[in-house]
C-alpha cells in the first residue's frame, strides 16, 4: 500500500471509534511501524571494509537484537486528535530515524518517547478504545478485537525499554 493511501486511512480514523475491519473495510493498513533495537556488533571473524565513495570513513557495525512491528494493527488507531498524532509520530518515528547518529537514538531517547505517550494517555479523551482489524472467532461470529493501541504501545515500549535500557551502546530505529 502506498504511503499516501495509508495516511488517508489514518486521517479518516481520527476522532472515530471505528475499526478497519477485514474484508468489509474500504481499505486496510499494513504495518507502518517497525522498531528495532541495535547494539554494537562484536563479530567473531574480522571484517574488511573496502573504501569507496559510498562508505563513510568512520563507521561502526551494529547488530539487531530485537525487532518488532505490529501485524495488522494501526498503532495510531486510538488517537483522537491530530495534534497528538503529530506529537506521537515526532517522538517515535522522527526521533528514531536510522539516519540520525546512534547517540541521538539511544534508549534514554526511547524513555522520552514513552513519556510522551504516557502524557497523551493521561489526557482526557486524547485516546480511546477502538476496534482493530484482528478478530477472534466465537462460533459463527467474528469478534473484532478492541484495544487502546496507544496504551498497548506504551506498555510494550516500556517493556522493551526495561529489557534493553542498560545494554551498552544500544540504540533504536523506527521506520
Amino acid at each position: 500500500m502506498d504511503s499516501a493511501f495509508s495516511r488517508e486511512i489514518r486521517k479518516n480514523r481520527i476522532g472515530k471509534d471505528c475499526s478497519s475491519n477485514g474484508r468489509a473495510n474500504m481499505g486496510q493498513t499494513s504495518s507502518l511501524f517497525r522498531l528495532a533495537v541495535w547494539k554494537p556488533a562484536n563479530p567473531i571473524r574480522r571484517f574488511m571494509v573496502l573504501s569507496t565513495k559510498d562508505v563513510p570513513f568512520d563507521y561502526q557495525l551494529h547488530e539487531q537484537i530485537y525487532a518488532w512491528e505490529p501485524d495488522g494493527v494501526d498503532i495510531w488507531g486510538s488517537l483522537r486528535e491530530s495534534a497528538r498524532m503529530t506529537e506521537a509520530r515526532a517522538a517515535l518515528i522522527e526521533a528514531f530515524d536510522p539516519n540520525k547518529p546512534v547517540k541521538e537514538r539511544g534508549l534514554d531517547q526511547l524513555r522520552k518517547a514513552i513519556e510522551v505517550l504516557g502524557k497523551i494517555l493521561q489526557e482526557k479523551d486524547a485516546t480511546g478504545w477502538s476496534e482493530c482489524e484482528e478478530f477472534v472467532k466465537m462460533g459463527e461470529d467474528q469478534i473484532n478485537i478492541r484495544a487502546n493501541t496507544i496504551l498497548l504501545l506504551y506498555r510494550h515500549l516500556d517493556w522493551i525499554w526495561r529489557v534493553f535500557a542498560h545494554v551498552p551502546g544500544a540504540s533504536v530505529t523506527v521506520r
Binding site: M26, G27, A147
Partner: protein
Amino acid sequence: MKYRLTSKDEALSAITDYFVASEGKSSVIAIHEDKCFDSDKWLSLGEVKLNPGEVEPGEERRDRIEHAVSFGFFEWQCETTKSVLKQLEALMNLTKEEHKKKAARALDAVACVAARVGLIHPLFDADAIAQMPFRRPTTVVSDTSAVLQGGLDFVVRFLYPMARLKVPAIAHMEILNASDNYLKYRRGIKIDNKAKALFEHASSQGGQRALLRLELQTEAEIERGRLGADPLRGIVQPDSDQEDKVLGLQQIQRSFADRLIFETARQHLSQTNPGHPVVLLTADQGLARMTLGEGMETLYFEATTYGAISGASLSGTTFDPFNGKIYSVGLLDLLWEFAVTFGMARLSTPDGSAGLEVGAMGETLTWQPYHAQDDLLWVCGLGGDQTDDPAASVPPETVPAPATTARADAKKRPTEEKPPAKPRSFTGSYKFGVAKLFALIDRLNSKPLNDKEAMEVVGVSKIAALDDYKNFLTSGRLVEQKDGLVATESLTKLVQALKVRDLDAAVIFFVDVPSFAGFFKYLNGEINENPVAERAKATYVALGEVLGVCFEIPKEKVYPTLSHPTLNAFTEAAVASYERLAKRTDQYVLTGDWLEGLVRDHGIHPVRSRSLLEEARVAGLLERFTEGSTPETGFQEHTLNLLEMQQGRPTVRRIGLFEGDFLLAGKSSVSIRLKRVTA
C-alpha cells in the same frame, strides 16, 4: 453467602449481568484470604473498566459486554505499592517490621498473577530476548521461580512449540512443600505470622495452579524429569535419616534444590543430540550464575515484583512481543487466577454491594480433582436477586455430582433463562455465513423448518446465532416466522433465479431486505456512508460479491461492480485493461490482474467479465489466449465468493482469482493474452 461450583462459561453470564446492571459505575477487583484477613475485609487491587464500545445497529448491548469480558476489552488501573501495602498491613494488623517485609513479598504474588495470565511480560535478559523467538527446537528446563513468576507461562504463550518444556520433579516438590507449609498454618488454631502464611498461600496455590493450568487447559506438552536421587527426601522434608544427617542436607536445602534443577537440565543436555540447545529458565540469580559458570545457557528474567504493576494501567488486550499481533486475556481468567492464588477474588462495585465473588479455598469450599480438570471454582453473586444468579442458589454442601452441576446448567441457559426477546424492527444489519444463508434458503424452499432444524442447516449451536439469519430473511419478506420458518412466494422465486444463475433477478429479491438495500444504495452512489454495521460488513460484501454487485480488492477497497457494458464496450474495456498491464503486444499477463483492472477501472464484475469475454470471442471481436502455470504466490487473499450449482442446489464457493481455474472450465488460465480482431 451461597457459593456454587461454576465454570468460567457460566460465570461469564453472571458477570455480564453484573456489568449490564452496573453500567456507568466503576468496578473494583479485590482479593481475600480467609485465614489472614479479617472476615469481610478485602484488599482492593484497583479499578477495572470495561470497554465494550458503542452498540451498532442490530447488536445487543449485552453481547457487547459479554465479548468485552471474554476477550479482554478492559483496563485494570492497579493500586500503587504504597497504597496497597498500607491496606494490607491494616487488614492483617501487622506491627512487626519483619512481618511487614514478608507481607510486601506476598504482595509480589499479585504481579506474578498478572505475569502468569499475560497482562505483563517478565523482564528477560537482553541476550535471551535477542534469541527469541527460537528459530530451532530448544529445550527449556524451568525452575520453581519460573513457574511462580510467569516465566513458564511466557514460554508456553510465545515460544511453544519451538520451545520444548521440561519441569523437573523438584519444582513440583518445592511447590508442594510450600503448600504443606501453608496448610500447617491453616490447620493451626492461631496464625502467629499472617504475612508468612499469606506468602506461602500465594506461592503454593499460585504455583500449583500454574502447573495444573498448563497441564489441563493448554495444549503445551510438558515433560517431567525423573525424581532423581534418594537424598531428595532430605531436601523437601527433613527427616531423621542418618545418611542425610551425615550429609547435612537439611542445612543446604534450597541451594541443593537449585542444584538438582540444574542437574536435570544437564541430564537433558546429555540426552539430546549434539548442538541441540538446552536452556534453564529461572528468575534466581544464583542459579543463573551457576548455570553460566558450568557452561550451560540460561533464560534469566528479573524476579517479578509488585513494582512492575504499581500504579500502571494494564490492558486485557496486549501486543505479542514477537509477532506484533494482539492477544487477549479474559477478565475471568484474571479473576480465576487471583481466586486460586489468594483463596478468594471478587469484582464488584467499590462498596461491594453488587458483583461476583470467586472462591477456591475456604472453610466450606471443597476441592476435588474434577474441579481442576474443568477449571471450576466456587462463585457467588453479590447483591440483586440472587435466585436469578446461576452462581448463587446452591450451598456447597448440596452441590450435586459434576455431571449435573454448572456445566449441564450452562448448556440449558441460552434458551431457558434468557429474557424474552424484544420485538425487532429489522432495521439493523446482520452477520452470518453467506454460504450457510444460501443453504438455508434452499432448504426452506423444500419445507418449513423449526428452529432446531434451521440451526442444524446453518451449523450453529446457539439460538442467538440463528437470529441473524432469521431476521435477515424476515426483513426481506423472504420467510415468515410462524411456528417455525416458512418460505414466502418471494423466496421460491429467488431460488428459481439462483438456479438459472440470474443474478440480476436475484438482486431484486435481496434489495427487499432493508439493510441490503442500504448497502446497495451505497454501492450505487446514492448515499455516501455505508449504513452496514461494522461487525456485519464482511457479510454484506460477501453477499454482494455472490450477487455480482461488488468486489473487494484486498488492501484497496470494495468496488461497486454494477456496470453492464455492451459487447463492444466490454471489448474496448478488456483490451484497455490488458494493454495497461502488458508491456508488449504478445505478452501474457496475470488473469487475476486483468480481472481486477476491469473491476477497478470499469466496474465490471469478474463473473460478468468471464461471460462477456466468451461472448466477445464467439462474436469475433476478440481473440484470447491463456496459459497455465504455477499460480503466483502473494495473491492468496484475492478471492471471490462465487455462486455455483451443486446437484441442483445453489451453493457458494470461494475461489482464488489468481489461481487459474476461474476463467475457463477445465483449462488452467493463470495468464491471459488478448488480441483485438480487426476486420
